[in-house]
Symmetry: C2
Amino acid sequence: MSNQIHHKDIAKVPEPTLRRLPWYLSNVKLLKQKGEQYVSSTQISKEINIDASQIAKDLSYVNISGRTRVGYEVDTLIEVLEAFLGFTGMHKAFLFGVGSLGGALLRDSGLSHFGLRIVAAFDVNPDIVGTAINGIPVFHSDNFQEKMGEYEVNIGVLTVPIEIAQQITNTMVSGGIKAVWNFTPFRIRVPENIVVQNTSLYAHLALMFNRLNFNETK
Amino acid sequence: MSNQIHHKDIAKVPEPTLRRLPWYLSNVKLLKQKGEQYVSSTQISKEINIDASQIAKDLSYVNISGRTRVGYEVDTLIEVLEAFLGFTGMHKAFLFGVGSLGGALLRDSGLSHFGLRIVAAFDVNPDIVGTAINGIPVFHSDNFQEKMGEYEVNIGVLTVPIEIAQQITNTMVSGGIKAVWNFTPFRIRVPENIVVQNTSLYAHLALMFNRLNFNETK
């Protein structure tokens, strides 16, 4: 029941706020390491150069209240932020496409500290189907539907070649996947009720190269 | 000289355009595989659900002209887009912090197809210093300055723990690094002339979890 209320609360959080909250979290973790017990939005503001009023506003979405003059309790703020961001829960995911990037993500155990556990991967390459990477089994793509019944998964990580990105997305969605973490540079289309999170490393590279060139020719 | 002009041209490209151009590129690559020789912005528009006028406007930043009724030549468009986005050049980078994510990025050879080649990595862990991952040597962090003279590098990939993210950034910048690809959830601060590209997988996870919860409780 309290979980329901929590879900309802966070439903209204705007995207920019959700992008900034992890910054506050990492900053407050650092202050904790330095031995701080309380932190104010003014203090965070000085460290990361974001308006204190903006920080206070962002934190108002999170169910925590600061005390006048002393601010937020560091331990509580970390705990509440981690829970709010979903990092303390464990969301199980399947990964599709064990190529270079897919394999790299399977080996990145760090994701599990932030609430995501990839429990199985799918590919068609006979050299890797039947093996395990970092303890995660790689199944043949044909077994996806069967494995959906076995594992309780609602997130799919998409790291396939672009030419099958849409097709694999369709398969995932019809199999019951509710959120797609899309690492391909392909713009996939999904039904309205499916969440898509695009993380295109290549678009980020293009941006970085462009700004670098700009600075160099200034 | 023509290179200079190219750099000057791309300097004015807005961020949203730079984020969309890789979508067009991947879509056009797909059309090429299907045997298409020409493509119009209307055609791309249908495939990826972005306004044709927006696509035409975005493509106007790129130095290519379409022909009335037939559109852009597929081969030329791919070539020009790849060059424009910096994917055909080779930008050398150092990686800092060979933990779980850092190691994963070293193993992702895919980045080199998009213009980034990580040529060396730095860490302090005696177990990995002196080894090589995917052919990329791992040096002790103390040797960074010396290696800057040896390799010609201006990009630093930041995958260290948050508690040293700022310190390592400062070291990079004073050593001559001009662009930082920041994978940590920490908001680093740099001088005005330094490019920072934030790619926080954790912020993306938080967003995905939030939207997923929202859909589930609707």
